[in-house]
């Protein structure tokens, strides 16, 4: 019993030291600090800084030529985001890159885009995969879901786009059908920082937006692409840093654990489908139990049940469309 008493005493110390973190937490896609509106910056490496607090994570690459932003956060925090960017650099904002079309990553496009300009004097160039433009815009005569000023002005169609800015190569890669069908990851090659977008989250299971072209295999492919690009400095640590779509800064080892998790869950659900299990039966089998306390949630906009359902639907044999 003395041992138990000692453990109890240490537990009390730990509770004081670590506070609420000892308690089981819900894990929404965006942690409280990620969408608080209190925009905080962290120097990641080289020219690249992270901004958190505006919804999705934002990368800021700043140098003599100006400022490049990857993702722009929620619209309600656009002015605060702009102020946070201005604390890092007063140079012109030349480029915005959107990793996908969701509003927590594109919501500041209009405000931040208008605050900057291209060298020719046009509004800041907004680079994204063409499917982002398709999702944010609408055909002539129809009402678009976002204002014209927020749309990508420089969309790319094929697998990648690259250019040189602030003394380094900026590589933009498209991985199809992952989080959405318009995902991009961005590699700042000299700084050695990757911006992953929502294909990699440290706070929740990956959001697989089936309605907008996402899929579990695409998420795995995207994570493997990150692993291919990342090079650790020493003993699987450091080197290339990876900014998650939501959550913390990571390196290859962190992406590896996440890739393993998504792959293992995919395999389990695929096996269950092969055994003829219904969606309800799959949920009852608790096939994600080893990851739920880390990435799962019973409430919020992306629950464990939704994650399982998305994979189940994605992997289930597709019924042929009925003839019109």
């Amino acid at each position: 019993m003395r041992h138990r008493a000692a453990v109890a005493a240490l537990t009390l110390i730990g509770a004081v030291v670590f506070g609420a973190r000892l308690q089981m937490q819900e894990h929404p896609v965006t942690p409280a600090w990620g969408a608080s509106g209190d925009i905080q910056s962290l120097h990641v490496q080289g020219n690249v800084h992270l901004l958190v607090g505006a919804g999705g994570n934002i990368a800021v690459q700043a140098g003599d030529e100006g400022v490049l932003i990857v993702d722009t956060g929620l619209p309600q925090f656009a002015e605060k985001t702009l102020a946070a960017i201005r604390k890092l650099s007063d140079k012109p904002i030349r480029y915005i890159i959107n990793t996908h079309f969701h509003s927590d990553h594109t919501g500041g496009n209009e405000v931040i885009g208008k605050a900057g300009s291209t060298i020719q004097g046009n509004p800041t160039a907004i680079i994204a995969h063409e499917n982002v433009l398709k999702r944010m815009s609408a055909p002539t005569g129809e009402v678009s879901p976002t204002p014209v000023a927020a749309w990508p002005t420089s969309s790319y169609v094929k697998g990648s786009r690259d250019f040189f800015f602030n003394d380094e190569s900026v590589m933009v890669f498209h991985d199809d059908a992952g989080h959405t069908d318009g995902d991009s990851i961005v590699h700042f090659r000299r700084s050695d920082v990757l911006m992953a977008g929502d294909v990699f989250l440290t706070t929740s299971y990956p959001v697989i937006d089936l309605a907008n072209g996402g899929g579990v295999q695409g998420v795995i492919n995207g994570l493997n692409h990150l692993l291919d690009l990342a090079v650790p400095k020493h003993a699987q640590e450091g080197g290339t840093y990876i900014i998650s779509g939501h959550g913390r800064v990571a390196d290859e080892a962190d992406v590896l654990e996440y890739r393993d998790m998504v792959t293992i869950v995919r395999d389990r659900i695929k096996d269950a489908i092969g055994r003829g299990r219904t969606l309800d039966q799959v949920k009852a089998e608790r096939l994600t139990i080893d990851y739920d306390r880390h990435y799962g949630s019973q409430t919020g906009n992306w629950t464990t049940a939704m994650f399982i359902e998305a994979i189940y639907k994605d992997l289930s044999p597709k019924r042929p469309e009925s003839r019109k």
Binding site: L10, F18, L22, Q23, L50, D267, L287, I289
Partner: protein, 268 residues
């Protein structure tokens, strides 16, 4: 108290766990969550053949358990001669660990995690008390029992002459239901200079034809090793499966009443 010097471990405590390494399915004495047990039961050692897994480092709460030794020194502010940090160079995986002694705060939640985490220390009398956060995911036991990146650790370094006691109090809200407490002993090397302090690691392609999206693991209930440990040593499955209850002396009474593990049946 000065901890400077080269320290070598003594393995008399928990030797089977620390040197040859634990057997698959041995979760005895660990306050595991149900999820941790599933993770370990579905873990395959083949995971370590994946190139990115090959040079993974033991995290701070674990690295002092295994084959290792470490060199400790203090870094001083040249102006004030106050101790800024206590450093450990650990030969396993060539890890350099910093324990900040200057009162600085821990990084924000969005900062990177490392194998050795971010540590701050303070002297409580002659005991160095170290708090570590920002630890990477790895394992609690070297047989697939996972550790999450939400884990934290408090250590006590207690010197008795040339013997150093290292107590670890390990919290993981994901995979532990209660804190895990462990201890190791080290002895000061009075004749320094020998031995190998290097641990170079480069990955190799061990399975050339493996698809990029293949991760070795067993589906739930399909590991051929399930129940093997408990059966081989004649202990109840309940005890082998661990859980907080199995850490305490009172469990011995319950243990005597439990049936020994049956011969495992490999699932097709």
């Amino acid at each position: 108290m000065i901890l400077t010097g080269e320290w070598s471990p003594r393995y008399h405590e928990d030797q089977p766990d620390r040197i040859p390494g634990p057997e698959l399915g041995d979760y005895t004495g660990l306050p595991l969550t149900e999820g941790a047990r599933v993770a370990a039961d579905t873990w395959s050692a083949s995971r370590l053949t994946v190139p990115e897994h090959q040079c993974k480092v033991h995290i701070a709460p674990y690295i002092y358990r295994g084959p290792m030794r470490f060199r400790a020194w203090e870094e001083k502010d040249p102006q004030t001669q106050r101790t800024i940090a206590i450093k450990h160079y650990i030969n396993t995986y060539e890890q350099e660990r910093t324990i900040w002694m200057d009162g600085r705060a821990h990084p924000p939640e969005w900062a990177p995690h490392t194998w050795q985490g971010f540590s701050t220390g303070e002297w409580q009398g002659d005991i160095l008390v170290v708090t570590t956060t920002h630890i990477k995911s790895e394992w609690i036991r070297r047989n697939g029992v996972p550790n999450s990146d939400q884990s934290m650790m408090i250590e006590h370094f207690i010197r008795h002459g040339n013997v150093l006691t290292h107590n670890v109090y390990w919290v993981d809200p994901v995979y532990l239901t209660e804190p895990l407490v462990r201890a190791e002993e080290f002895v000061l090397n009075e004749k320094s200079g020998g031995g190998d302090w290097l641990w170079p690691c480069e990955y190799v392609e061990e399975v050339a034809e493996r698809p990029r999206d293949e991760v070795p693991h067993f589906l739930p209930g399909k590991s051929p090793y399930l129940g093997d440990f408990a059966y081989r040593y004649g202990i109840p499955i309940d005890a082998a499966n661990g859980g907080a209850e199995t850490m305490y002396p009172e469990y011995m009474e319950k243990l005597r009443k439990l049936p020994k593990a049956p011969k495992p049946v490999v699932q097709p």
